[in-house]
């Protein structure tokens, strides 16, 4: 069972605004799913390697070289706010 306080904390970490009603509902729903997931505890995983890549692919290296993106204007247009060909972001300080 996870508490409303925990849900509120997680919502903050996930950067999702939530009202009390949503928090209350999620506390119930997330608890139900987590209880159901708990059946994994019965599996003996002693000495088992976790899967990193399912077909066993290892790191693939490439040259660290910038390429050209054709339609920069299309990207700039997608910013909710843009100015002089740049995306505008909120002040962070």
């Amino acid at each position: 069972m996870i508490s409303k306080e925990e849900v509120r904390h997680i919502a903050g970490l996930a950067r999702i605004g939530m009202d009390d009603q949503e928090i209350e509902k999620l506390a119930v729903e997330l608890s139900a799913v987590l209880d159901w997931i708990d059946q994994l505890k019965e599996v003996d995983v002693e000495g088992v390697e976790p899967t990193a890549h399912i077909t066993g692919m290892e790191n693939r290296l490439r040259e660290d070289k910038a390429g050209n993106f054709e339609d920069k204007k299309m990207i700039v247009k997608l910013f909710p706010e843009n100015k002089d060909g740049y995306g505008k972001v909120k002040s962070i300080l």
């Binding site: 970490l13 996930a14 139900a32 994994l40 088992v48 399912i54 077909t55 247009k77 706010e81 909120k90």
Partner: protein
């Protein structure tokens, strides 16, 4: 179907423009009810078709996909086309580049009719979670088409597209294919580039075809598969023509059936699947009983790995870089101006109003499982059990070439039937999910015998899973089953 249309295009029996217009006419006639499409791209489709016709007129040879109209799931980027993933947060998003699969399809000369409906960000098994309203099953409009690629499956089933692309993270290509009575193929993880597909769970996602026939699935897969420098997880294997493996024979193939897999099915679904097994025996396949003891944990493993990866992938939707910013959106009616909001408030509001309920729930679940102190208990443990599931498959594939299961526990269900209990909806994926967890290829093929529910004949699919990168045997077996019921079977065998 694609081959027949290709021959008609070459012989001049039909032009590409006529063919494309025919499909738009079908859409105009049916899509008000079905609602398979979110966006139509008629102008560019007809322009493309005209080019193909000019090429044919000038005596140039055309490829198999050239002039063949299809549909693209709305979480795959098509440059210059609105791409929403059926989410309000991407309501105004116009893709600035083509996904690799789109680039390859464009090169092949295929025509795009439009973008199809889906569960928001591919999270769902019924298309009821689309922010734009549900798609209806062409076999029975009171029922869901399955999901999340419900729009793509419904479009193909209703003749609103010859072929379609879907994405499959836990069954999202195969389960709707089963519900709508069409073929759906999830390739081996890495067989098809994921570049340009809006990511849900990156270690599970694959793009694949939804088509009327197995041969069509092989044709589309041949175009879209192969290594891609923009997806470092794409497999280093050359593209190949999968139609070469459609011999029409299943003789000598060893097919594994898990006895537990059939245990809990309704009697009609069970009979339908048992008849499929009988057919394979008649075709000369060897049917063997197998056991995959860890498969029963695939679903809970999925509900840890998937939300964890979701919470990370969907962090990019922040109201800053693209998509909806809360105060820009007409439905939020927030009583303040954008310049008054801080950075953090912008994040919180944009995600609050931009995401639907199911999406938020999965982000929350993933954030919780990855939060400090829980990593070992959830994510790490799930990845270890994933290894055990994979080892199950490695062991079984020493004895068999293919594994046969139902695709879904039941035929299409009614709207609202499974929305109240989330775990009930999650159980929809019980047969399909192991293929994503283990990374193996899998295909859903319509069983010959439909299932009768409330006086309606509803389609149901069976699933074949194959070894990693053995789409060849999987397609061969699926094709052999499919053509075994055609009266002109011999003529259809290549």
């Amino acid at each position: 179907m694609i081959r027949e249309l290709h021959e008609k295009l070459i012989s001049g029996e039909i032009t590409a423009v006529q063919l494309t217009e025919e499909y738009f006419a079908n859409i105009a006639q049916k899509d008000e009810e079905v609602f398979a499409y979110l966006t139509l791209t008629k102008k560019s489709a007809l322009e493309q078709a005209k080019k193909v016709d000019e090429k044919i007129a000038s005596g140039e040879k055309i490829g198999i996909m050239e002039g063949i109209p299809g549909a693209i799931k709305d979480n795959i980027c098509v440059k210059g086309t609105r791409t929403t993933a059926a989410s309000k947060i991407l309501d105004n998003y116009v893709a600035p580049y083509d996904a690799t699969v789109i680039e390859r399809l464009k090169e092949s000369g295929a025509i795009f009719l439009g973008k199809t409906n889906m569960d928001e960000f591919a999270m769902g098994s019924s298309t009821e979670k689309s922010a734009y309203g549900p798609t209806r099953n062409p076999a029975d409009p009171e029922r869901v088409p399955g999901g999340s690629s419900g729009g793509s499956a419904a479009a193909v089933a209703a003749d609103e597209a010859v072929w379609a692309l879907g994405t499959d993270t836990g069954g999202s290509i195969r389960q709707p294919a089963s519900f709508c009575g069409v073929v759906g193929l999830k390739p081996t993880y890495g067989r098809v580039s994921r570049y340009g597909a809006i990511a849900m769970a990156s270690s599970l996602d694959q793009i694949g075809p939804i088509t009327k026939t197995v041969e069509d699935a092989a044709i589309v897969l041949s175009v879209i598969s192969g290594e891609d420098k923009f997806d470092s997880t794409s497999a280093q294997s050359p593209a190949k023509d999968y139609t070469n493996y459609l011999t029409g024979e299943a003789k000598g193939l060893r097919i594994g059936v898990g006895k537990d897999y059939l245990k809990d099915l309704g009697p009609e679904v069970k009979t339908s699947i048992e008849k499929v097994i009988e057919t394979y025996k008649k075709l000369g396949a060897e049917v063997k009983e197998i056991e995959l003891p860890y498969s029963k944990y695939a679903l809970p493993v999925y509900y840890i790995i998937m939300p964890c990866e979701v919470s990370s992938n969907l962090a990019r939707f922040d109201g800053i870089k693209y998509g909806m910013r809360a105060f820009d959106h007409k439905n939020t009616k927030l009583g303040f101006k954008p310049e008054d909001r801080t950075l953090i408030e912008t994040y919180l509001d944009s995600r609050k109003y931009g995401f639907g309920e199911e999406v938020k729930k999965r982000i929350m679940l993933g954030t919780y499982a990855l939060s400090s102190g829980y990593y070992d208990a959830y994510y790490l443990r799930a990845q270890k059990v994933r290894t055990l599931i994979k080892q199950d498959f490695e062991r079984v594939f020493e004895d068999v070439d293919l594994i046969l299961t139902p695709t879904a526990p039941s035929p299409a269900f009614k709207f609202g039937e499974k929305t109240t209990d989330p775990v009930q909806m999650y159980l929809e994926d019980i047969f399909t999910i192991t293929a994503n967890i283990a990374g193996v290829p899998a295909i859903s093929v319509p069983a010959k015998d439909k299932v009768s529910v409330d006086g309606k004949e509803l389609p149901i699919g069976f699933q074949l899973m194959a070894k990693w990168f053995d789409e060849e045997n999987m397609l061969r077996a699926a094709h052999a089953y499919e053509i075994s019921f055609r009266s002109d079977a011999e003529n259809k065998i290549k």
